[in-house]
């Protein structure tokens, strides 16, 4: 299914008039060859969590980098926080990127810095926050991901799952207005993956930060959509059978084209052959 309706209007529980945090209009990008992404239009509304599905190599990570201005489209328009970033210089993009938290595929932690300095990187560079305040916020962010004990360690001494959690802490420390997760569970064991999904659900349900999560793992996508984070029990609990989180919706890419945009129910009942094949 490739509906022409804006996603913000389709997503239950979201005000139709809400200005999207992210909006792509017919974005196309190529690297010395055929388009990696062609004519992509989508939106992320305030409070909305969008899960971008698709097999490896269809341009999911490229799409995230387009949204953050790390890559610029050949054609089309990208609005981030209502501002057209396609014509912006790198200097003009930095303030907008500072309002966005991004979790990279392998964490992308700076291996010459400690966990503290990695998580505090943005705050340290801003030169506006005192060291004591930085330490307090780093401890808070690390506690959120359950890794406070790694404060003084170097990324080399952490496991893959721990590195992803530190990367999430780094993305969260400046209270971002948008979160971009690039395959946060890729290559991890099921238990660690569930922990990461729990953190993403926690951020969604506690802070209501709009986000876009790229993944090719259906089990993670469905877990995020069919669970809620219970703050009293401090863990993720399943929603009643047949229910899905209304603010969590799906997108699917096939060979650089957006072939699906809709809710979990619509995804499960889609008659698109590629969607059916991907689900099966």
């Amino acid at each position: 299914m490739n509906s022409s309706l804006p996603t913000a209007q389709r997503s239950a529980g979201l005000a139709p008039e809400a200005n999207p945090v992210v909006e792509l209009r017919h974005a196309t990008i190529s690297f010395d060859g055929p388009p990696v992404l062609a004519d992509i239009s989508l939106t992320v509304a305030p409070g909305e969590t969008r899960i971008l599905l698709g097999p490896a190599g269809v341009g999911k990570s490229v799409l995230l980098k387009l949204i953050n201005g790390l890559l610029l489209p050949d054609h089309g328009t990208i609005l981030l926080f209502g501002e057209d970033i396609t014509s912006m210089s790198e200097d003009e993009l930095f303030p907008l990127r500072a309002r966005t938290g991004m979790v990279f595929q392998e964490g992308a932690l700076f291996d010459s810095l400690t966990v503290r300095d990695n998580v505090a990187y943005q705050l340290v560079q801003e030169h506006t926050v005192l060291d004591e305040e930085i330490d307090r916020r780093v401890h808070e962010a690390l506690s959120f991901v359950g890794l406070d004990e790694t404060f003084s360690l170097f990324p080399d001494s952490l496991s893959g799952g721990m590195r992803r959690r530190v990367a999430i802490a780094r993305a969260l420390i400046n209270n971002p207005e948008l979160l971009l997760y690039d395959s946060p569970t890729g290559g991890l064991d099921p238990i660690t993956s569930t922990n990461i999904i729990e953190l993403i659900a926690k951020q969604r349900d506690v802070h209501h930060t709009p986000s876009l999560m790229v993944t090719h793992r259906l089990q993670d996508a469905f877990a995020l959509c069919t669970h809620r984070f219970d703050t009293a029990k401090d863990r993720m609990l399943p929603l009643p059978k047949g229910q899905a989180d209304p603010s969590t919706t799906f997108l699917m890419l096939e060979e650089g084209r957006l072939i699906f945009d809709g809710s979990l129910h619509e995804l499960l009942h889609s008659d698109n052959p590629f969607v059916r094949e991907f689900l099966e």
Binding site: R97, F104, E106, L109, F110, Y121, Q122, Q125
Partner: protein
């Protein structure tokens, strides 16, 4: 088919030169636009300057010694062995000190910059830096380039001094000539243009090795193999460019001073 290949390669070379020129120019401009990461300048000055000291001292002493050894045989034919000091000091200060130091330091630091930044590119650390609102050009590149230029200036002075001392050691202990005469000849025939020439070159060479190392590092593609490729390209290009620019600067300065 062959024409297409030549056409593509030529365009690629022109594009690379254009990209490098813009890269080097923006890195230069960043020195005058905040934020300026002064602490990074100090760190890089330590890595490039102090870290390269041993290879510069050793290569300086050896080169000065070799110059003294080689020149003695030739000068003896004209009964001019007393000129060894002049020959060694002028050659070291005007030419071999800057060029050898530039090539030695580029072998050590252009490769290190290319591999370090290349690894950061392939592990998405550069993208992460940009995503966190920090410009890698200001944070990583500008400090490396200007620390290279500043440190190469001082390293060249050390290399010149070591070369002259190495030449003196060979002259006195192996050729059994007079030490004071060697130093007297080395000093008396030096002119200001020689020193100016010898101290302008390393600033250019430092800029070249720093900018080429960072340029190829940040252009890395293709994983760990790509990092290796970038490192080789950086060292080869920096060394060749240093020798070529040496020719240009020498020509310009000789014309000016004559």
């Amino acid at each position: 088919m062959a024409t297409n290949q030549i056409d593509r390669t030529a365009k690629q070379i022109v594009l690379t030169v254009q990209e490098y020129s813009l890269f080097a120019w923006h890195s230069f401009l960043n020195l005058f636009r905040p934020p300026i990461y002064w602490s990074e300048f100090l760190v890089q000055a330590d890595v490039i300057g102090v870290g390269s000291l041993s290879i510069v001292v050793l290569s300086g002493i050896s080169t000065g010694g070799v110059l003294a050894l080689q020149s003695t045989a030739t000068l003896a034919a004209f009964g001019a062995t007393a000129m060894t000091g002049q020959f060694v000091s002028l050659t070291m200060i005007r030419e071999l000190g800057p060029v050898l130091t530039g090539i030695m330091v580029s072998g050590r630091n252009a490769s290190s910059m290319a591999s370090e930044l290349g690894s950061m590119v392939v592990t998405e650390q550069i993208d992460a830096m940009r995503a966190l609102g920090v410009d890698p050009l200001r944070k990583l590149v500008t400090p490396r380039i200007f620390s290279s230029a500043a440190m190469l200036f001082f390293l060249t002075i050390i290399s010149d001094a070591c070369g002259i001392l190495g030449g003196a050691a060979v002259t006195v202990f192996m050729n059994h000539q007079d030490g004071p005469q060697y130093f007297s000849m080395a000093w008396e025939h030096l002119r200001h243009p020689d020193i100016v020439q010898g101290l302008i070159k390393p600033v250019f060479f430092g800029y070249i090795l720093g900018s080429i190392g960072c340029f190829y590092g940040l252009r890395t593609t293709g994983g760990t193999q790509g990092v290796g490729r970038s490192t080789i390209q950086a060292v080869v290009t920096a060394s060749v460019l240093i020798i070529f620019v040496d020719f240009l600067i020498t020509h310009v300065l000789l014309t000016l001073f004559s």
